[in-house]
Amino acid sequence: MRPLPHDVTQLLVAWSNGDEAARDQLMPLVYEELHRLAHHYMNRERPGHTLQTSALVNEAFVRLVDQRDVHWQNRSHFFGIAAQMMRRVLVDYARSRQYQKRGGDVVQVSLNEDLIVSSEQTAEVVALDDALKSLATFDQRKCQIVELRFFAGLSIEEAAQVLGVSPGTVMRDWTLAKAWLRKEISNTA
């Protein structure tokens, strides 16, 4: 059963009004839609062609959120959730790869395991995730910007639009967030 656009919108409204349970309900809905769309896109694209992820998230938004709902014009929550979702997917994957490298008695199986990710990349993703968790404790917005930029692939302008702030603000936040994260990662490494 595809979620009804109105439901997603209502959940977004509820969440933006502080209902954390609504967010938990949204996650699987957004995940499934993203999964479906991504799958669809991947199958259509020629091999080697890079997926336009911001387009993916945009399409999920259009499909899931009732655009006629005048009470709901703020896209930040939806994109935020989508970005978080993609972060989780990537980080979990990276962690599991790290885990496999360490795991002694784990049998290595290549079941369509055609994703080539270097161990540096996975290590970077895991370290970044840890650092982002720290950042989020005192600066939620910078964390969100990193999520939108790095995990959801949004440009500065797109991120600004989503967050309803100026591109300059995003740029500033992005610069400091990067500096802080990089420092944090090198400190812990």
Partner: protein, 911 residues
């Protein structure tokens, strides 16, 4: 970090960056005004910034999307969770991620579900979920997924269940149209699971297409029992749509799509019970047939209003009116107006399915290649559009299915041993060889010396979707059973017990437990035109391990016999094993060399197994055709004897038209092959019920038992010999053995109760009949007999209730009417009893009625004169039931009468 501090850093960082490089140090010292830590912090950030140009500038989103597309998430392939190694992702849903995993300890494949943390935060909830999930799993129901483990790893809860290879009903609906029969079958299986769960006090709460998994072999599994406990909120007594909305909205994990399957009481947050599951199942059935749910709406609240207030959307296609009635009843807003139990729903659905199938068979010319049934039972979903099938559906709905008087009586009488075929022998040799192989192999390991000494052959699954090929799939199973029964030291479960699993989800382990066997043979066959493919799998029930499997692809149907010889050779070679000479002889005995005759015989057996008067007539026709093709085909004669002897014993036809025929054909069969156990048994039945020749009957029945000691029916009929000989205790012990051999056989279970009844142990009899009815509530013979036992105990109300229920199952069978008349007579309602008698007498002009049954009613009315008139009639006709008068408690009041004693003497039964 303190937010104020961070804001300060933020500001200083950017201000510093606005300065030229060589001015930055100076600026910072001043700006920090002695706060050395602050200065160091900003300085470090600036330094970090200097080298951060490319840092995280290339988004990882493409990789994330790729992972998303492949459904790869949290746990990677190869990762280990406890003793489980993740193999692949099966699915991701609102209630967690599901993986295919390997259990390292047992080597088996399992499904592993990780539960999202928000659902498992409350230990109390987790405990309730665990309790219920385990309780459901412990039911060992074939349609309920078995839970292996509920555990925790690094703070994440996980559930490990049996791995079900198949598709959810949701997937199926999006892929293709689900046919009417298939939809009924799925619903029946689901209802069967719910029945078991509800009996144990477990309500699923979240029945929906996503939770119903159809295996490739047609068996349905219900997933996620108990899981709803994790998301459940305390019940709200809420009426306003506002609070309803709130409840649904704030219920974590409540994916909106699920609302469509909620019952009215569920949307209102009221306490729910078993009837809620039935509603949800009704919605699923509706959706399978109609391509959309019955209650729709633009938003959640619209859906809820529709559930509470609207009638289901009308069907876009015509469906049988009985099905519409069932759906209306299951989707009643008021719980007390709905089906009250899954069992009631199952009974109605099964009856409907049976009727539709019988309708199909009536219409399809046997042997023709026209796929009539398939066409007719298909309902195109709206999306499929195009060709209208409403005409054919209407035809189907209007078919009248007269349940002939005795259909249900014999309806489940044991499908006993079939013939011996060279053909299918090949498969059997394979299994037999395998068994000895296992025995020898196991013998080497001291800890596993227990050999596989028992096997159940489940009905082969006909994958052709061609109802005309059913005779082949049933025939193959049947013949394998028959063949294997010939082997010494191997116990084989009869087809009747195995047939209980036809079209059901089976789990080898639970079949093994139910039937008390060590191994289960599962098979699939496909017939395309003249081409036949067969797959088999032998499974060890202890651990569901596959012991052996083989594919026989694209063989020619016309070469069936040769093909199977080839198969047998190949299996022998493959396993490099030899059977004993005697076993070889038994398995290889040729029944006919004529392939056409063989197939006609299989068709005959197929109809015979239907156990309806119509089925018997058809089987007789096919057996005769088979004989026409090969006049030396012993099995076909044995089949004819089988049909006629049972028609006679159960008074489906006048005795003079059935018993003599049975005798002729049984004798002919035995001339051709003296070792045909079935033929000896048929002859024994004729001698017992028609010749009243106790000694002669005993010889034949004993010979049948010697030839086939593992056949429960041999014990069953031998028990009748004991009964007529007045040796009731021995009869009882024979039937006990029969039940042990064939624990789920309805007739044999009922006969055990009948033995209690004739021994005047009414309480035991009632308990045994109840047990039989639990196996199948539509088995009206048990209903009739339990009513007789109630009657003897003076429990007239119970008797009448049961009889009325039985009549709703089979409105035509006159024995039920006669028994209702008896109960009326005993409870002082003479006019009602006499009224029924009048009707029965009228019916006698049109169809054969055993006069013994009419005598029952007169005896109940205390009319001795008429009782003896009718008993004399029965005696003259040699009616199938007359020998029973010696034991029937209904005649106890006149047992002392000289006329009665004279009658018993004339029948030749010991006084």
């Amino acid at each position: 970090m303190q937010p104020e501090r961070w804001q300060l850093i933020d500001r200083l960082f950017h201000e510093t960056l606005n300065h030229k490089r060589d001015e930055r140090g100076h600026f910072l010292v001043q700006a920090c005004a002695g706060d050395e830590l602050l200065r160091q912090e900003v300085e470090a950030l600036i330094a970090s910034h200097e080298g951060a140009e490319s840092f995280i500038e290339t988004p990882a989103s493409a990789l994330a999307a790729e992972l998303l597309a492949k459904g790869k998430t949290g746990v990677g392939v190869g990762a280990a969770i406890g003793p489980y190694t993740i193999r692949s992702v099966l699915g991701i849903g609102g209630m967690g991620e599901v993986y295919l995993a390997q259990d390292k300890r047992l080597g088996r494949q399992v499904a592993l579900k990780l539960l999202p943390g928000q659902f498992t935060a409350s230990p109390e909830r987790v405990r309730r979920f665990e309790l219920e999930a385990r309780a459901a799993s412990a039911l060992n129901h074939p349609n309920i997924v078995t839970i292996h483990e509920i555990g925790e790893t690094e703070g994440t809860q996980f559930i490990v269940t049996e791995y079900v290879e198949g598709k959810t009903i949701r997937d199926l609906m999006s892929e293709r149209t689900i046919g009417l029969i298939e939809a009924l079958d799925v619903t029946i299986q689901a209802a069967s699971a719910l029945e078991a769960a509800h009996k144990a006090g477990i309500v699923h709460r979240d029945i929906k297409p996503e939770n119903m998994m159809l295996r490739t072999d047609g068996y349905l599994k219900i997933l996620d029992f108990g899981l709803a406990k994790l998301t459940e909120r305390p019940h709200l007594k809420a009426d306003s749509s506002f609070s309803t909305q709130m409840q649904i909205k704030t219920n974590p994990g409540m994916v909106m799509g699920t609302v469509q399957y909620m019952s009215p009481e569920q949307t209102q947050g009221e306490e729910i019970d078993a009837r809620t599951d039935l509603w949800s199942l009704g919605v699923v059935l509706y959706e399978m047939l109609n391509g959309c749910v019955p209650f729709e709406g633009k938003t959640t609240s619209h859906v809820i209003v529709s559930i509470l207030e609207s009638e289901p959307k009308p069907f876009q296609r015509e469906v049988p009116s009985e099905l519409q009635r069932i759906l209306v009843k299951v989707l009643r807003k008021q719980r007390h107006m709905r089906y009250q139990s899954a069992r009631d729903l199952t009974v109605d659905l099964k009856n409907l399915k049976q009727e539709l199938e019988v309708g199909d068979r009536l219409k399809s010319t046997p042997g023709s290649n026209a796929r009539v049934g398939e066409e007719r039972t298909e309902i195109k979903s709206a999306a499929a559009g195009g060709r209208s099938t409403s005409e054919t559906i209407r035809t189907q709905a209007s078919v009248v299915y007269p349940t002939s008087s005795a259909e249900y009586l014999v309806g489940e009488l044991k499908r006993h041993k079939r013939g011996l075929f060279v053909g299918i022998a090949a498969l059997i040799i394979g299994v037999a060889v395998l068994s000895s192989y296992m025995i020898s192999r196991r013998a080497k390991a001291p800890e596993t010396v227990d050999a596989i000494d028992s096997v159940a052959v489940l009905p082969f699954v006909n994958e052709s979707n061609d109802p005309n090929a059913e005779y082949l799939s049933d025939g193959i199973s049947d013949s394998i059973i028959n063949r294997l029964s010939q082997l010494s030291n191997l116990r084989v479960v009869s087809l009747s017990s195995a047939l209980r699993y036809k079209g059901q989800a089976v789990d080898a382990a639970s079949v093994g437990r139910d039937l008390k066997v060590r191994a289960v043979l599962i098979g699939w066959m496909t017939k395309r035109g003249d081409s036949l493919s067969v797959r088999t799998e032998l499974v060890d029930v202890r651990d569901n391990r596959r012991l052996w499997g083989e594919n026989y692809q694209n063989r020619q149907l016309s070469d069936l016999l040769q093909v199977q010889e080839e198969i047998s050779r190949r299996i022998s070679e493959k396993l490099r094993l030899r059977l004993t000479g005697e076993d070889q002889r038994r398995l290889g005995k040729a029944a006919t060399k004529n392939s056409e005759a063989f197939q006609l015989y299989l068709k005959g057996r197929f109809y015979w197994n239907k156990f309806t008067s119509d089925g018997f007539r058809k089987s007789i026709d096919f057996f005769k055709q088979a004989i026409a093709k090969d006049p030396d085909f012993g099995l076909a004669y044995s089949g004819l004897a089988d049909s006629y002897s049972l028609v006679g014993e159960f008074s489906l036809d006048a005795p003079k038209d059935s018993f003599p025929q049975a005798r002729t054909y049984a004798e002919k069969a035995l001339v051709l092959d003296e070792t045909l156990a079935d033929a000896h048994r048929s002859l024994g039945i004729v001698r017992l019920f028609y010749d009243w020749n106790l000694k002669g009957a005993e010889e034949e029945l004993r010979r049948a038992k010697e030839l086939d000691a593992s056949d429960a029916q041999s014990y069953h009929f031998y028990a009748h010999y004991f009964q007529f000989a007045g040796r009731l205790d021995e009869a009882h012990s024979e039937l006990k053995q029969a039940v042990q051999l064939d624990p789920t056989n309805l007739v044999i279970n009922a006969e055990l109760g009948w033995a209690d009844y004739t021994s005047r142990h009414y309480d035991d009899a009632i308990a045994q009949f109840q047990k039989t009815l639990e196996l199948d509530p539509t088995f009206v013979l048990a209903s009739l007999w339990i009513a007789q036992a109630y009657e003897q105990k003076g429990m007239y109300r119970e008797a009448l209730d049961e009889l009325k229920r039985a009549k709703s199952v089979d409105p035509e069978w006159f024995w039920l009417d006669a028994e209702i008349a008896c109960v009326y007579a005993f409870s002082g309602k003479r006019p009602e009893a006499e009224e029924i008698l009048k009707t029965l007498n009228q019916r006698r002009t049109a169809e054969y009625l055993d006069p013994t049954v009419i005598a029952y009613v007169y005896a109940a009315l205390g009319d001795k004169e008429q009782t003896f008139v009718w008993l004399e009639k029965a005696y003259q006709e040699r009616a199938g039931n007359i020998p029973w008068i010696k034991l029937e408690p209904k005649f106890d009041s006149m047992r002392k009468e000289p006329e009665f004693q004279d009658l018993v003497r004339r029948i030749g039964l010991p006084q």
